[in-house]
């Protein structure tokens, strides 16, 4: 069988396994003799695997290795930031968010600020972030399938979109948590297993440092901020701000916290997530480093993102190499599928609840929402020129950090936040970050400082959004929600504490 054949087989296997594990999770049915199902709330470990499965997208699986291969150690800030985002989430947001009882971000906005207006704006932003995040997933799928099987670049995107849509439309009864947890371990295995072989070969070859083979003299691969390109320091800080603060604003991450039984479990889950992501993100940079030694032509051709897919076949001759390449391809598709499914469900939920809910019934509205949630970004992916998976996802993070991070942090920790302040802050942050994202995606960004500011907007849009939110809130003290103090008590008191939490605002 050819290499392409193995890859196709692996992709098919991933799709089938995804469906099968879902069916297995659903088998948790019991008769009275041995049930007590209710005590089986989702354990933090399982939930953390599921979050990891949903969170590790194509940007992590393919993009990081590609960036490290092309631009060197400076790019390690991406995986560091994507992990550290959960540290910020753990410290500032996880437990209070769970205690708020919110399922989506608009739910949180409504219950904290007691305003329908904030809810509607949050819903719009969730949809925008979801689309911005889905688009590169579809693009990445197209690139991956094209690289391994030689099909057209559009086919992979359409394939993933179709599978996700079928999955979401007809899979409402399956156990999502098991599927997503399985995807995390699949992705980890798909990177780790080939790496064991490749590192052995590398050691056998004398363990040459990747930094020692410069394609150009005076290469700055190993030393950060030394390379070509302007304003590297600003760009790096901006990436740090976006990734550290953007995680909490991702719709598919937030909905998973609802599964935790209480605030303490939410914290424990986040801690597990940190460990799992830390483990996973050790691997892609190694691919990048090895790629520099064994596949340097990819840098010249610009196909750096396919290094994870091609490297095993290049380093290991014969069937074994083909099989391992097929394994990484399968992992990549697991990444596309799980992230896209999670995002589609989250976005479709918001669309059906806040846009279609009144006109269509519950399930019908959700299905219509899912179609819209998938088709729009697929269309964008087919139309837009590839920006680079990691960069596009980075923009989604910047957008989330400029809108939902201020809302969540101030909403949880500052009782004087008002609905007017929240709306103004999200409009300013979202408007600036969104404008910058559009300018970058359309390739209209100018050169020099303005170009750097637009390419990585988070470093100035996030503080701007915070300032606006605080300023307008202070200017409108009469609009502080009527039950703000009571809501704060609920958010911050552990569930175990016996306390009169009062009647809730309606």
């Amino acid at each position: 069988m050819s290499a392409a054949g193995y890859s196709l087989l692996a992709v098919t296997a991933v799709v089938v396994a995804t469906l099968a594990v879902g069916a297995y999770g659903w088998r948790f049915s019991r008769t009275t003799s041995d049930f007590f199902v209710a005590s089986r709330t989702v354990r933090p470990g399982l939930n953390a695997s599921a979050i990891g499965g949903e969170y590790l997208s194509a940007a992590s699986f393919l993009g990081v290795a590609g960036l490290v291969l092309a631009f060197g150690t400076e790019m390690l800030w991406y995986p560091v930031g994507w992990t550290a985002g959960y540290l910020v989430l753990l410290v500032l947001v996880a437990a209070p968010l769970r205690r708020s009882g919110a399922y989506t971000l608009p739910d949180f906005a409504e219950s904290r600020l007691e305003s329908r207006g904030v809810r509607r704006l949050s819903a719009l932003l969730v949809v925008a972030i979801g689309w911005l995040y889905l688009m590169p997933q579809f693009q990445g799928a197209g690139l991956a399938l094209a690289a391994t099987t030689g099909t057209g670049a559009w086919l992979g995107g359409v394939l993933v979109a179709t599978v996700v849509l079928v999955n979401v439309l007809f899979g409402g009864m399956r156990s999502i948590t098991f599927v997503q947890a399985f995807q995390y371990w699949l992705k980890l295995t798909a990177l780790l297993f080939p790496l064991l072989f490749m590192v052995t070969i590398w050691l056998g070859d004398g363990a040459v440092s990747p930094a020692s083979t410069g394609t150009t003299p005076g290469d700055s691969w190993e030393s950060p901020l030394a390379g070509a390109g302007d304003h590297r320091l600003y760009t790096t800080y901006s990436i740090i701000v976006a990734t550290f603060l953007g995680t909490m604003g991702l719709p598919h991450v937030v909905v998973r916290f609802y599964t935790n039984p209480d605030g303490a479990a939410a914290r424990r889950t986040t801690l597990f997530v940190l460990a799992l992501l830390g483990l996973f993100y050790l691997l892609p940079p190694v691919y990048g480093g090895l790629g520099r030694l064994y596949a340097p032509d990819l840098i010249a051709s610009g196909d750096t993102e396919s290094v994870v897919l091609e490297l095993p076949a290049r380093m290991l001759a014969g069937t074994l190499g083909d099989l391992l390449s097929a394994l990484t391809t399968a992992g990549a598709f697991a990444a596309f599928l799980s992230t896209s499914s999670g995002l589609t469900v989250a976005v479709a939920g918001v669309i059906s609840q806040d846009v279609l809910g009144r006109r269509l019934g519950g399930v019908r509205a959700f299905q219509a929402g899912a179609v819209v949630a998938v088709l729009v970004p697929l269309g964008l992916a087919l139309l837009a020129e590839g920006v680079g998976v990691a960069q596009a996802v980075g923009l989604a993070f910047a957008f989330a950090a400029s809108t939902f991070c201020p809302l969540l942090v101030l909403g949880i920790w500052w009782r004087r936040l008002t609905d007017a302040g929240a709306i103004a802050g999200m409009l300013v942050g979202g408007g600036c970050a969104g404008g910058a994202v559009l300018a970058t995606l359309l390739g209209a960004a100018p050169a020099g400082w303005p170009g750097a500011l637009l390419a990585q907007p988070a470093a100035w849009t996030v503080p701007l959004a915070f300032l606006t939110m605080v300023g307008i809130s202070l200017a409108t003290p009469r609009r502080v929600p009527r039950h703000a103090a009571r809501t704060m008590v609920r958010l911050h008191t552990p569930e175990a504490v016996q306390l009169d939490r009062g009647v809730l605002p309606r």
Binding site: F28, T31, T32, V42, G101, Y103, S175, N260, F366, L504
Partner: protein, 375 residues
């Protein structure tokens, strides 16, 4: 269309002066109504009083209950302290009175409040407070206006009372539902347990503990909402006890998606449905009966269904039970339906699929988040 545009251009298209005055009055009234619907508290009075002063067009207005001042709006705030004493006069007399400067002593020569019109606020023939309009000189028209506004405020307060009593009724029904853990069930459970005492003392002990836990949950002083996990745990205990009684005749299948266990549901909203299913699925029918309880995860919602393969029910009877007819033999179906609607809105009522001889399936939809609903 052109004629329409011309009509808009013609002067006075927004109504005559008198009509506009009426509109303004109605607007002020419509702003006040929702505040007053919360009942007479210092919070609601404080928000409503500005609009009341707009309505009356006097320098100062006060709202009191029978003993204290709840809110004051307008100039010459030093008279706010007098309002409580003035209220006492009206609470005694029960009708509108006009009092002058002598009843609220003032040392400020520049003070423009010389007379006060006080009208009682009456709810169900009981004076609950007063509306006081302070002015320089009370005309007959003002007396009339204050009386009418006070009557209108009273009407809104009566509506508030109605809301409150509706809530109280719902709470009473929950309490009744708790008490409805039927004597039959208690008797049957204890008999079943007794039958094990000699043959299988260990099992008898376990069952007794289940029984204790079950009753503790059902009678517990609990808030309005609980989690689906808690509710299912109680149902599991209930089913263990019923299985002790029916043995293999009762088959139970539970399929629960773990993701929906933290969802908030009204307290004791599933228990009556399961009890109905066991009764209809088994009691009036030979052979085994199966009860299937499913809780599925559907994005922002949780779908719960309770199904039995029993004798079924006449759809008309179910419709009557849902409409609140208590003579129908279905434990708390109407109550559960009403509480789900109050908690989550009218889109979230019970759906019952049944026909004689075809079993019964009750479907509950619960949103994962609804404002004000938390365990």
């Amino acid at each position: 269309m052109l004629r329409g545009a011309l009509r808009w251009l013609r002067p006075g298209h927004l109504g005559t002066e008198a009509e506009q005055a009426t509109f303004r009055t109605l607007h002020s009234a419509s702003l006040t109504a929702p505040e007053l619907r919360e009942g007479l508290t210092s919070g609601s009075a404080g928000r409503a009083i500005r609009h009341l002063r707009d309505l009356l067009g006097v320098p100062a207005v006060a709202l009191t209950d029978t003993v204290t001042t709840l809110a004051w709006d307008g100039r010459f705030g030093h008279h706010e302290q007098d309002a409580a004493a003035l209220a006492a006069v009206v609470v005694e007399s029960g009708g509108t009175v006009v009092l002058d400067r002598r009843s609220f002593a003032c040392s400020d020569p520049g003070c423009g409040l010389r007379q006060v019109v006080i009208s009682p606020l009456v709810v169900e023939d009981r004076v609950v407070g007063t509306l006081q309009a302070f002015t320089s000189s009370a005309s007959a028209a003002l007396v009339r206006a204050v009386t009418e506004v006070a009557r209108w405020v009273s009407g809104n307060l009566e509506l508030a009372e109605l809301d409150a009593s509706r809530t109280r009724l719902m709470e009473a029904e929950v309490r009744a539902l708790r008490a409805q853990i039927s004597p039959h069930f208690i008797y049957n459970s204890l008999t079943a347990i007794a039958s094990f005492v000699r043959t299988d003392p260990v099992r008898a002990r376990e069952l007794l503990l289940e029984f204790a836990d079950f009753t503790r949950y059902s009678f517990s002083k609990h808030g309005e909402y609980t989690t689906l996990a808690e509710e299912l745990r109680s149902i599991e205990r209930y089913l263990v006890l019923e299985k002790a009684r029916f043995g293999d005749r009762l088959q139970v299948t539970l399929r629960v998606a773990q993701e929906v266990l933290p969802v908030a549901v009204p307290f004791l909203c599933l228990q009556p449905l399961v009890e109905n299913a066991v009764r209809h699925g088994l009691e009036r029918k030979p052979g085994t009966g199966t009860v299937t309880i499913i809780a599925a995860d559907q994005a922002g919602e949780c779908l719960i269904s309770v199904e039995d393969d029993g004798i079924g029910e006449d759809p008309d009877k179910v419709r009557r039970a849902l409409a609140g007819d208590v003579s129908v033999d279905s434990v708390g179906l109407g109550n559960v339906d009403a509480r789900l609607r109050t908690a989550f809105g009218d889109d979230y009522g019970l759906v019952v699929e049944t026909a004689p001889g075809a079993g019964t399936k009750v479907i509950v939809r619960v949103p994962k988040f609804a404002p004000g609903v938390r365990p």
